[in-house]
């Protein structure tokens, strides 16, 4: 089973989680963490303890809001020191829904690729005909 952490500034992750719940219904294996007003070492400690609590073959995807932001830096640190952790930036609702719909059936590598594709594919400009 794969798990998703929405690691964002302020309450974006929490809001995405609530919004996804409204669309998808009850959600498991997704949680939101905020980096706001927190020391990066403390955030890393939270990520490490979540990772520790996973079963051996569980994968963890950390979706962050901004590449290069504090959320990205901390998440990459976990991915650097632990196995089966991926970090993806630019989290959006389509990405979260993609995880909910496809998270169980894909391998971790496939899942991360799919999240990137589905998240990117949702960025569309309406063309007036």
């Amino acid at each position: 089973m794969h798990h998703l952490i929405l690691l964002t500034h302020a309450d974006l992750g929490e809001a995405l989680l609530h919004t996804a719940q409204e669309i998808f219904g009850q959600i498991e294996r997704v949680r939101a963490l905020s980096s706001s007003n927190r020391n990066p070492h403390e955030i890393l400690r939270d990520l490490e303890s979540i990772h520790d609590s996973l079963a051996g073959d569980d994968g963890l995807v950390i979706a962050v809001d901004l590449k290069g932001g504090n959320t990205w830096n901390v998440a990459c640190r976990l991915a650097h020191e632990r196995e089966r952790v991926y970090v993806i930036s630019g989290v959006n609702l389509a990405m979260v829904l993609s995880f909910l719909m496809k998270g169980e059936s894909l391998s971790l590598d496939e899942l991360v690729r799919t999240l990137k594709e589905d998240g990117s594919r949702s960025l569309v400009v309406y063309e007036k005909s």
């Binding site: 007003n37 927190r38 020391n39 403390e42 290069g68 650097h80």
Partner: protein, 171 residues
């Protein structure tokens, strides 16, 4: 900026203490107000760790701002270079102690911004983004004693606060 025009007391666009180091508030928030040519994080351990250095230096590669992680010695060399004379620079350190070390090594700055020293156990709160322990307090007092103005301001739109005044209330 030519050396002649540069204020010798404050040769940087900003010198900032931030425990998140290079991140959005600096590269997006402050850079859009200060328009630096370069952002330098001075941090001996990170500068000597290839993986971490790359993480920070590559993060905003498409921002048009040069980003470097330097050891103290590399920073001293850079400050003496011709490049530095021409560039507008935001200088970042992780802790007040690191800022004091730069002063001791002869890096001059008249103003120090405290942008983030976030909550950790056994730290005292000055405001929601500044928490200090005895090591931070000692360094800040010494920095202030050397005539450097210490201002708290996390983002450009926030009101500046006098950190020494806030320290006096908890000491």
């Amino acid at each position: 900026m030519k050396r002649a025009e540069r204020n010798q007391d404050m040769p940087f666009a900003m010198v900032r203490v931030d425990d998140r180091m290079i991140h959005g508030q600096v590269v997006v928030g402050w850079a859009s107000v200060l328009h630096p040519d370069r952002i330098v994080l001075c941090h001996d351990e990170i500068a000597q760790n290839e993986w971490e250095k790359e993480l920070y230096e590559s993060s905003f590669a498409d921002s048009g701002i040069k980003i470097n992680v330097f050891t103290v010695d590399e920073l001293l060399r850079y400050i003496r270079s011709e490049e530095f004379e021409k560039e507008k620079v935001i200088l970042l350190v992780e802790t007040p102690k690191d800022a004091l070390r730069l002063l001791e090594k002869g890096v001059a700055f008249g103003c120090l911004n405290i942008g983030g020293l976030h909550y950790r156990a056994n730290k005292k709160e000055l405001n929601h983004y500044i928490y200090v322990d005895s090591e931070d307090i000692q360094a800040l007092v010494e920095i202030s004693r050397r005539g450097v103005k210490i201002e708290g301001q996390d983002v450009p739109s926030a009101r500046k606060v006098d950190v020494v005044e806030m320290l006096q209330k908890i000491l």
